[in-house]
């Protein structure tokens, strides 16, 4: 049987245990059925967890959402393991470790086979009306959270995605100039890679990075004259949290939009009035947030009363009490003005 590449991480274990696991892996690799590698990422096949650590809860939630990692409880005698997880007793012995890894290999192989069967055919999506093609296709792909690496070809721009990890796999950075071309593609081809092709991709040095920035850009740089098909035009929108502006391209007025939408739902017109920006910019922002799964749709008909009392009290920046002092600080520190 062909050997598979598997990844393993640790969650919540003390440093000494982590070091032990790392060195044990290199030793037992000649004796396990598959090839196991240590990874720092939560998106590994397996995670050795301390049931008492808060970080283990985070790993379990991630596993519930994406199917990975498979959590294993590392426990001393007398300590309770996580429910319905394999157990690795501490102190960790090589023989037990090998047995566990081989057992997990069987489980993982069974899962991969069923996924492969379901997604082996290439998926070609053609959009005739919808102008958000690539953005929506990527968003839906990531939402399906397949563990397999997917090859994306849109207008000749080719890259790879691991949906379950919300990750892009790039051999080299996506050219900024290529993005408009990418987002204008009339159709998108999505093809799952085989195990061998995946190994080759990693072998070529493809590095995973978060796909969030690309989804954001697909919304921000997509059509400004309309909302995404999934957003009702007459509705009010709120944000469930601030976008991570540290990693997302933005202008200053986007910060104000986020500040308003995290406090209260606004329609596009209300938002435009509140931030003194054209509706096009407001649509682009809401689209970007929607592709990033940050938007909550509130009232379907904005002709009704605004959903928040704050809307009435929203004061344009220039008349806000703090306008003077913040303007001074921004000016002195050299912020870019919007």
């Amino acid at each position: 049987m062909r050997q598979c590449r598997r990844t393993l991480t640790v969650v919540g274990l003390p440093v000494q245990k982590e070091l032990l696991v790392r060195s044990l892996l290199t030793v037992v690799n000649t004796r396990t059925r598959d090839l196991w590698y240590f990874s720092d990422s939560i998106d590994s096949d397996v995670a050795l967890c301390d049931p008492c650590s808060a970080l283990t809860l985070v790993a379990q939630k991630h596993a519930q959402r994406t199917g990975f990692p498979q959590c294993v409880s590392v426990v001393r005698e007398g300590v309770m393991a996580l429910p319905e997880t394999p157990v690795l007793s501490a102190p960790i012995y090589a023989s037990n470790f090998i047995a566990l890894l081989d057992a997990l290999s069987s489980t993982l192989s069974a899962r991969t086979t069923s996924v492969d069967a379901a997604t082996s055919a290439p998926l070609r999506i053609t959009f005739s009306e919808d102008k958000f093609r690539v953005g929506v296709a990527l968003h839906d792909l990531v939402g399906r959270a397949s563990r397999d690496v997917q090859r994306i070809d849109a207008n000749g721009v080719i890259f790879h995605v691991i949906p379950a990890a919300r990750a892009l796999l790039l051999r080299q950075p996506l050219d900024e100039d290529a993005l408009p071309h990418l987002f204008r593609a009339r159709d998108v081809s999505i093809t799952p890679l085989t195990e061998g092709q995946t190994q080759d991709l990693f072998g070529d040095g493809a590095k995973p990075q978060s796909i969030d920035w690309l989804l954001w850009r697909a919304g921000l740089d997509g059509p400004h004259d309309r909302l995404l098909p999934t957003l009702p035009p007459g509705a009010t929108f709120a944000l469930r949290r601030w976008p991570d502006f540290g990693r997302l391209k933005h202008q200053t007025f986007h910060l104000r939009m986020a500040a308003l939408l995290t406090r209260a739902a606004h329609s596009i017109d209300q938002l435009s009035a509140a931030v003194a920006q054209p509706v096009d910019e407001c649509r682009a922002f809401v689209n970007a947030c929607a592709l990033s799964d940050l938007v909550e749709v509130h009232q379907k008909d904005s002709a009704q009363e605004p959903s928040s009392k704050y809307f009435h009290q929203t004061v344009a920046p220039s008349t806000n009490r703090y306008a003077g002092i913040f303007r001074s600080i921004r000016h002195v520190l050299g912020f870019t003005q919007s």
Binding site: A54, R240, D244, Q313, R321, I329, R330
Partner: protein, 190 residues
């Protein structure tokens, strides 16, 4: 109008970059009260802040923006109270490479609860490039569980544009949350 003083607090765990953040924007070399760290098992850093970091920015018309960095460790929490009084806003910096960043965050949210609850706070998570968990969503849940709404962004404090972004987010949050306010509200002293 007589010159007014405004105070911004930078707080967060040891090594999260409070001193670096202040240095990025202060017009004076920051005054620091760093001393030798004798507890190297808990923290690898060579030094630790015991009292505060201080920087300042002179604004037009003689107004002053004072920047205070708090000590990160909980045994200096009396300094958090002292420094936090009448602050315009607080910047909470979290180092995601530490063992339990969510617990760290909860500590500072509790210490500066009144400022945070008045929507005068922003959270910057450092080292997310190499340590992607907990995620921004996990931090968001941690704040909303406490009934708080705080903008959270991932940052690298060594980048001046990221420090400015933190402040810009904070200012927008304050402006939006306090469109109409009474003269007696905290945030400025004459």
């Amino acid at each position: 109008m007589s010159p007014r003083e405004y105070k911004l607090i930078f707080t967060g765990s040891m090594g999260a970059g409070k001193t670096t953040a202040i240095a990025a924007i202060s017009e004076i070399p920051p005054i620091s009260t760093d001393v030798e760290n004798t507890d190297k098992l808990s923290h690898a850093k060579a030094t630790t802040t015991t009292a505060m970091d201080y920087g300042e920015v002179t604004l037009p018309e003689g107004h002053k923006l004072r920047l205070y960095g708090t000590p990160g460790q909980v045994r200096f929490d009396f300094m958090w109270k002292i420094l936090g009084k009448n602050a315009l806003g607080v910047v909470i910096l979290i180092d995601n490479s530490r063992p339990d960043p969510l617990a760290d965050l909860r500590e500072y949210l509790a210490a500066f609860r009144s400022t945070v609850a008045a929507s005068r706070a922003v959270i910057g998570i450092g080292r997310m490039d190499t340590h992607n968990l907990p995620s921004i969503d996990a931090f968001w849940s941690a704040t909303t569980e406490l009934g708080l709404t705080v903008p959270i962004i991932s940052i690298d404090v060594r980048r001046r544009d990221h420090v400015l972004l933190l402040l810009d987010v904070l200012f927008h949050q304050i402006e939006t949350a306090n469109p109409i306010f009474e003269d007696s509200e905290s945030g400025a002293t004459t």
